[in-house]
Structure formats: C-alpha cells, structure tokens
C-alpha cells in the first residue's frame, strides 16, 4: 500500500518543484515590487523648499520664459499653409486643456503610440506644412511647455486604449531591464530604492509629472526623453535614439504608473 502511494507523492513533489523553477525570473528581469498607488510621490516632494517655492511662483519660475515663447508660436502663422496653431485649435486654454495629461496616445496613421512632442510635429507637417521641430530644440520645448501648462493641476490620464497595450507592456519590461556597464534597471532605483541617497541626492520615484522641466543641473529646460537619456548615460548604457519607439514605450509605462497624479508642468527639478 505504502509502496504504491509513494510514486504518486514523488510525482506531485516533482511537479511542484518544476513549477517553482519555471516561475523563477530571468536574471535581467527580476521582480521589483512596484510602488503602491497611495505611496506615490511627485519629484517635487523630494526637492528643497527653495526649489518648490521657485516652481510655485510663475513670476520666478524660469520655465515660464519658454511658456511665453510657446504662446507666441501658438499664435504665429507658419509653413506653406500659412496657418497658426490657433487658426485651427483656437484658444489653447480651452482646446488644449487636459491634452498633455493624455499623452502618449495611439496614432492611427502610423499604428503606433506617439508622444506629445511627436504629435505636435505631425500637426506641423500635415496641417501647417512646416518643418518638424528638432528634438530638444527651443521651439519644440517652448510649444510643449505651453501646451503642457494647459493641463496643470489636472490628473495624468493615460488613454484606456487597447491598441496601446503591447507598447505599454514593452515599456514595463524596459523599466525592469538591467542595462549598461553598471547593470541597473529603472526599477532598481525608482521602485526599490526611492527616498534613499545616491551620492548625497535623494532618489525620486520617477513620475513624469512636470515635463518639460526646468532642471537646475541643466540650467535650462528639457524633455522627459532628455531626462531618460541622462539616467541611461549614468548607468553607462547606450541611450535609445530620440523619438525611438523604446522611449515612447517607456513614456507610456511612466504615464500609466503615474495615473491620477497631478500635472505640474512646467516644473522645477534639481
């Protein structure tokens, strides 16, 4: 009786063992627990009181200079079509309210997600028949700041669009992928070690709440992709190309991760 039972018992134990081995994460893609929604904090929560005060006062926030430039671009006729943003969209305060909070979004023409910066360039190319702004150029950052400001105070609201799902999942994987000579993932620092100190500076949670940001370290304004590039360079990885699908996928995942958090654009960061 006992002898007859034993093989079945061993079989079960083996099955459990095999299942346990099968769910082991691969070394590059370990399981770092995401931040619980109620524990999420914007980068501004990790800043000095001085930096927070700078962001809170539009008269002293240096990023408002780019917003002002963006307002001019909004009204200026341009391109072969001799058309301004305002000619089609009217008052940005009304038409652009909440738009930046919804990007990246799916672009049916290319069947891919696009960032807000890319969407603006699509509009320039097709509707204004103008040259696209170069990534990280002054006018690109200015118009993005102006459009972004129209969502200030609103919750980050990634579109509930199932066409985005595979790109979102790719972004989630990239966030967890160890990269570079230093072999660190975004999640290693920003999910697992936020609040800790890296060389004396607090590690924030990496929520895209205020882009474009005026970064004190840059002495200027920059995009989310510029910030991502900084981190990739920091771990000695080869950064993804500007406007690459990988960056868009990471932006998608960051928006999902920060869903419901408040837009602060144009924010100050250290």
């Amino acid at each position: 009786m006992e002898a007859a039972v034993r093989p079945a018992w061993i079989g079960l134990a083996l099955a459990v063992l095999v299942a346990a081995v099968a769910v082991q994460p691969s070394p590059a893609q370990e399981t770092v627990r995401p931040i619980a929604p109620q524990d999420r904090l914007s980068g501004s929560a990790f800043m000095s009181a001085e930096a927070r005060a700078l962001q809170a006062d539009d008269a002293s926030n240096p990023a408002m200079l780019w917003v002002k430039d963006g307002e001019d671009i909004w009204a200026r006729k341009t391109g072969v079509a001799e058309r301004s943003c305002a000619d089609c969209h009217g008052e940005a305060g009304a038409s652009m309210k909440g738009v930046a909070a919804r990007y990246p979004a799916f672009d049916p023409a290319s069947q891919k997600p696009v960032t807000l910066d890319q969407r603006i360039n699509i509009c320039r190319t097709i509707n204004q028949k103008a040259e696209p702004f170069a990534p990280e150029s002054q006018p690109a950052l200015a118009i993005a700041s102006y459009v972004g400001l129209q969502s200030r105070g609103m919750p980050i609201t990634p579109p509930d669009d199932k066409r985005l799902k595979p790109f979102l999942e790719a972004g989630r994987s990239l966030f967890g992928l160890r990269q570079g000579q230093l072999n660190l993932s975004c999640a290693n620092c920003h999910d697992a070690l936020w609040g800790g100190k890296l060389g004396g500076s607090p590690i924030p949670q990496a929520h895209p709440t205020g882009y474009p940001i005026y970064r004190l370290e840059w002495q200027g304004i920059g995009s989310l992709q510029r910030r991502l590039r900084n981190c990739m360079t920091g771990v000695r990885a080869e950064p993804f190309a500007p406007n690459s699908i990988e960056f868009t996928e990471i932006e998608l995942y960051l928006a999902e991760r920060a869903k419901g958090m408040t837009v602060e654009t144009p924010a100050i960061r250290p």
Partner: protein, 151 residues
C-alpha cells in the same frame, strides 16, 4: 566606397571583432571558493593608498555613490548599500574581492555592479563595451584599502 575597400570591409570587421574578443578574454582568470576569491587577481597584493584614492574618486571607483564610510565629504555619500566603516573586520580580503569582481555570484538581485565582468550585460555604451569598471590592479588596490578599514 571603392570596390577594394568594399572587399576589405568584412576583413576589417572580423579584425575588430577579434581584437575585442582578445580584450574580453584578457580578464585574468580567478577561482571562487565559497563566497570568496582567495587569491589576488594580479598575483600581487594591492596598494592601500592607491585604493583609498580610487574609492574617493566618484567617477572612477563610484563606491561613494552608494556606500557611506570613513571617506571625504560625508554629505555627498550614498546610503543605498552597507556602510563600509570597519568592513575589514567583517569581511576577508577574499570575500571583498568576490563582492567587487561579481557580487551577483552571491546575490543575483544585488544592485552592486560587477567591477570585473564584461558578459551578460545589456546595451553597454560603446566606450565601456568589453571593458571592466576597474582593472585587476585597481581592484587589488581597493581590496587592500578596504581590508585595512578596522573599527
């Protein structure tokens, strides 16, 4: 591109691959025993004074980005990893050596970069590709310094 250089291109590519292969294989062999690499990577002891300079150099050693310890500028030190004060009392030179060479051999989830490994890494920037973070000599210098940090 001329036809001659077209013909040469694959040969050149092969040569470059061969060189980087040699570079990657130039890692000194070492043996892990338990949780340590008991023998020096270079066969010689390191220089503790040079090791102190490497640990203090934020671009070279990178140590103080994560570790605190009895080093200059305490306010610029990280706290993401164990404080290195008195680490020589807790770990032998061999244990320190393995933790620097490849800490993932002890804990695969560690955030400690492997200072003497070039394989199994993703998207390494071109100027760091096939290069270790520190050389064997530099690792021995740091091991000599850390082993001497006593309470």
């Amino acid at each position: 591109m001329s036809s001659a250089s077209k013909a040469l291109a694959p040969a050149l590519l092969l040569t470059v691959c061969a060189i980087s292969q040699v570079y990657a294989e130039a890692l000194r062999p070492f043996e892990i025993e338990g949780d340590a690499i008991p023998r020096s990577l270079t066969g010689a002891p390191g220089d503790a004074a040079r090791g102190a300079a490497i640990v203090g150099n934020r671009q070279l050693g990178l140590c103080v980005l994560c570790h605190g310890g009895p080093f200059a500028e305490p306010r610029m030190q990280g706290n993401l990893a164990p404080d290195l004060t008195g680490v020589g009392d807790r770990l032998s030179a061999g244990q320190l050596r393995l933790r620097m060479v490849d800490g993932s051999k002890i804990n695969q989830d560690t955030i400690m970069p492997s200072y003497y490994r070039t394989d199994g890494l993703e998207r390494v920037a071109p100027r760091f590709r096939d290069r270790t973070i520190l050389s064997a000599e530099e690792i021995e210098d740091v091991v000599a310094y850390l082993a001497g940090l006593r309470n």
